[in-house]
């Protein structure tokens, strides 16, 4: 099957064509927002990072920023820095693997806010004009990397929405594409089930390694992980333990072999189903998968969430019809049909697969129509 995408010089394919105004440090966030507000056709993000990071955390944040900025959904990027920070526009552009249209701006070099905004507006407007030349073309779905996520889950998520996403995931994988299963805390209690599908002994070892490392965080803190996972809303929705939540969450990955376990914001080398080691935090997880190359996210929810992402469409799937009716402004697909018996999980999986292809080809999601652009990079707490 084909979708209509933006084929980039590096061969990767975008489902969107954004001009991204990206602050590489928190000190540049307001200037980035001022530029974005004045130049139609641009998007921006805010985050608290860019300075004070040490060691592994600096590497992770640079990798995540570079992954987002060189993403195939980004036709052009303006990197905005202050001038004295650790992670400058030069650091991020140096780490960008793809040769995207990229401009750099320093607030200190432009003599402050007014000068930087004026120059930034000119650079951004030029990028907007340049990307307007790009056209979508038919592309095989093997170019797709689909990120999966769930947030505000209830027990019905594990019966309707998650298995339906799994059925769609199997279709993406059968078409040669890639699907990312993430949220490491929500693999705890289900490692043994996933490990049976590991494509190699190394993948099996890594599945146990990442879940043990995450479980150890709760052990070190001396707390019952159930204080945080499942969340209060999960519990109100009927989820009792983390193990129960995990066994329902992993259904999003479908039934295919697990080819690779990748780090947060890392780009998969293998196609097929891969696991990204990431926190369960919705926006942090989405950002990690997008930085790793996901051009579209499929997100299931039982309690409801408005979540979107600045540079990728997020298709939200409701686990039940009551929620879908209450939050129809935010939700794209209703999986409640499975409970009502009007659709099987497999039929819904097929409908969802077609929805993914259609959104990848340009149809806007509810989150995009509303302007949702939640963005957060994982922090390891290694900063001073």
């Amino acid at each position: 099957m084909k979708f209509l995408g933006y084929v980039r010089p590096d061969g990767r394919v975008g489902t969107r064509n954004h001009v991204l105004i990206f602050p590489t440090v928190i000190c540049a966030t307001a200037v980035a927002q001022m530029i974005q507000r004045e130049v139609p056709g641009t998007v921006t993000v805010d985050h608290p990072h860019g300075c004070g990071h040490m060691g592994e955390e600096k590497d992770l944040i640079v990798r995540a920023m570079a992954g987002v900025c060189s993403h195939p959904n980004v036709g052009g990027v303006l990197l905005v820095g202050l001038g004295c920070e650790l992670i400058t526009p030069e650091v991020v552009s140096g780490a960008m693997l793809a040769n995207r249209r990229c401009e750099l701006l320093s607030i200190q070099a432009e003599g402050g806010t007014r000068g930087a905004v004026q120059k930034g507006k000119d650079l951004a407007a030029r990028l907007v004009a340049e990307i307007a030349q790009d056209e979508r073309e038919p592309t095989d779905i093997s170019a797709l990397i689909v990120g999966t996520n769930c947030g505000g889950s209830d027990t019905l998520s594990g019966l309707t929405a998650n298995p339906a996403v799994g059925a769609a995931a199997d279709r993406i994988v059968a078409g040669g594409g890639t699907v990312i299963l993430s949220e490491t805390p929500e693999l705890i209690g289900a490692e043994h089930v996933l490990s049976r599908r590991a494509a190699s002994a190394e993948v099996r070892r890594r599945i146990y390694e990442i879940t043990a490392a995450t479980e150890e965080l709760a052990m070190k803190a001396g707390v019952d992980i159930r204080n945080s996972e499942p969340s209060p809303g999960n519990k109100a929705g009927g989820l009792t333990t983390l193990e129960e939540k995990s066994l329902g969450a992993i259904l999003k990955g479908g039934t295919s072999p697990i080819r690779q376990v990748i780090s947060y914001a890392e780009r998969p080398i293998e196609s097929g189903l891969v696991i990204m080691d990431s926190p369960a935090h919705d926006a942090v997880c989405n950002t990690g998968m997008i930085a790793g190359g996901a051009q579209i996210i499929v997100f299931t929810t039982g309690r409801g969430t408005p979540l979107g992402a600045p540079t990728a469409p997020v298709v939200k799937v409701s686990s039940n019809s009551g929620l879908y009716r209450r939050m129809v402004d935010n939700l794209d697909v209703n999986a409640g049909s499975v409970l009502e018996g009007t659709e099987t999980v497999d039929e819904l999986g097929e409908r969802l697969f077609r929805e993914i292809v259609s959104v990848a080809s340009g149809r806007l999601t509810k989150a995009e129509l509303l302007g949702h652009n939640e963005f957060a990079i994982h922090s390891l707490g290694l900063n001073v």
Binding site: L159, G189, I225, T240, E243, L247, G248, G341
Partner: protein, 96 residues
């Protein structure tokens, strides 16, 4: 589908309510297997779990054919199964 609660796996000891269920109702759980005529002892809201059979204190709770926790007290068939009578077994830093 004419059912009150869904059984995910033949080994499961709990089922998930697909509508709000009231105490005293006789309910039918279907899916992987079928248990009929369960007399509900508690209110079990949509998405919450009920016991398909009597479960002993300390016994593992089975859903999706896998253990999801352990009963902290004896649970009778038709009781609500949730935080008040089930403990998680993983990430228990509080017990270290």
């Amino acid at each position: 589908m004419g059912t009150d609660a869904i059984i995910c796996h033949p080994d499961d000891t709990v089922a998930t309510a697909v509508r709000d269920l009231a105490p005293g109702e006789r309910v039918r759980a279907t899916g992987c297997g079928e248990v009929v005529g369960i007399e509900l002892r508690d209110s079990v809201l949509l998405g919450h779990k009920l016991a398909l059979r009597d479960i002993c204190e300390g016994e593992e709770i089975i859903k999706y054919g896998e253990k999801i926790g352990r009963a902290t007290s004896a649970i009778r068939q038709g009781e609500h199964v949730h935080l008040h009578n089930v403990d998680g077994l993983r990430g228990r830093g509080d017990l270290r």
